[in-house]
Amino acid sequence: MNRLEREKRILNLSWFEARQHFRSPRMLALVALLTLFIGGGSWGLSDPNSTVTAQLQMDTPYEVLFLVSLFVLFSSTLGVVLLGFDGISRKRLTGELAIELSQPIDRTDLARSQLQGLWFAVFIPTFYITLWGVVLIFIQMDAWPTAGELVYFLIPTALVIYWYACIQLLASSVAKDLGSSVTLGVGVWMLFTLIWLLVTAVIASLMGVDVTNLESIEYNRFSEIVDLFSPNGVYQLLLEDKLTGEDGPTMDTAYIWTAAAFWSIIPSTLFLARFKRLKP
């Protein structure tokens, strides 16, 4: 089997996986979440009368999209948890994993198909609902983001969903039962989404950074560095990088993209390595 045929087979298997997710009752919950958060965020934040934060201007559609990214972080990454927390552990418990692992297919290919399947299942609805959100922004602001801005918004969004898909499947491959799958899946999501601010503050105080003023430049710089170790942080920095003036990050763009490259390589490599050693 040549390289092209292998890739075609992985793509076919990914679609099988994604279709299974699309038809699952969990997808209803995900679509509802995305619609409420991304759609609602786009509509509400683009309202000319709304004032969300004094520091951030929302004069352009991209600036609104940047703020909507907070809702993407909350809903799409939760969607990955929702669909992927038992991606491997369920198959292990039902016995399907033994059947799959005994087939004459390279385990790396099989792992990639699981990963891509989960990624498709979350990114595709996120993509469509974001497009719908852009239409809502246009209705409110009478302005479209440029094609470049939209593509720039979608690339980090696709990346953050991919990173979470890797992390979730890795956690799921470690879990031996449903309880530990939920704990690991939700735990990782909570760490990066809800607890990271606390983690940043604790590390800052340990390193002697003043944490009494969270608006200070010193703390901001420090939190940007800590954010490189969180997928959410890197996602935010990537999007922030497109903002101009004081709204942009103080960090050099190269560092942010390097962190993005690491987040794209390390979790997926760990998952593929784990999958290769997986026992049914």
């Binding site: 099988f16 279709r19 038809r23 369920r90 039902t94 016995g95 049914p280």
Partner: protein
Amino acid sequence: MSGGEPVLQLSEVTFRYRVPNWPKPWKKRLGAGIHKVNLEVHSGSILGLIGPNGAGKTTLLHTIAGLHRHDTGDIRLMGHDREMLGWANAQRHIGLMPERVNWSGTSTPREALQRIVTMRGEEQTAEELLKLVGMRSRMDTPLENMSQGMRQRLSLACALLGSPDILLLDEPMNGLDPVAQAAFRRLLRNLADSGITIIVSSHNLQEMELFVDSLAILHRGQMVAYGSLNEVEKALGCSPSLLVAGNGWCPPSAGSFGTGVTMDKIEPWHGEEWRFTLHRNRGWTGDEKHDVLQAIEGAGGRISLLQTVLPSLEDLLSAATGESADEIGFEIASDSLIPVRTWEVGEDE
């Protein structure tokens, strides 16, 4: 495969699970597994793998299927070293049906099977196989709505994909009703007659006896007996016994039936006045059963049941290991592998 060359050959195959060694979980120790298993299976034969829970049946099947990489020993498939064949080539020779696959989700058997077809890179369509395993009318039923019997059939269809030379079936009769079990046995016999080699595991000897050509008895990860049922019984000195029940005159002792016969205690049974079991080292021929019948009925007794009873798995294991049934039963609680015949315990045990 030509001549008498085995399709599958295991030589001194050992695989041990690595289990966390508390309080240092990173420092794994050797746990249960299979120990120095030797096996030769020929084309078109059905081998029954039998043993109590935790004996290592599933581990052995998974090791043959390539899901566990064996620590020592050799596995040869179709005359070639498994490692030399390469992963994909080796797996094409093997079809695995794991124990009680609980197929779930909203997809259908057709889609689930088509997915495995894609994994194998086969041209075969899912429909053909689903028809073969009797799922013609259930091809588009959601997996989550299927009965366990249907799920078993789907697992068998997965194992049959790509016409493998060796079928590994782990407790395939679980969840099947007696009618489906009979149909399943016929299907296995037909597959074996067409040249497929089948290894089927079970903890039920009576069930195995109906369709296997040879038996391998596993206990604590080791093969304690291997051969045809007769050979195994002879090797272990466990021959079938004769269960006799009836009314009226009852023989007072085994002496009424000639030399070399022993008798269990006589007791009432299901409305009959008496029941007892006769044992003989070499089993019972038709003529000998007739002699028993005549001896009792000639003396005024009336026989309502005269049945040959195969030795139970417990009997065979007790004979093989010299342990009592209680000791054998307790063993499943342990995850360590203690050699039955040899006592080669490593330092990392």
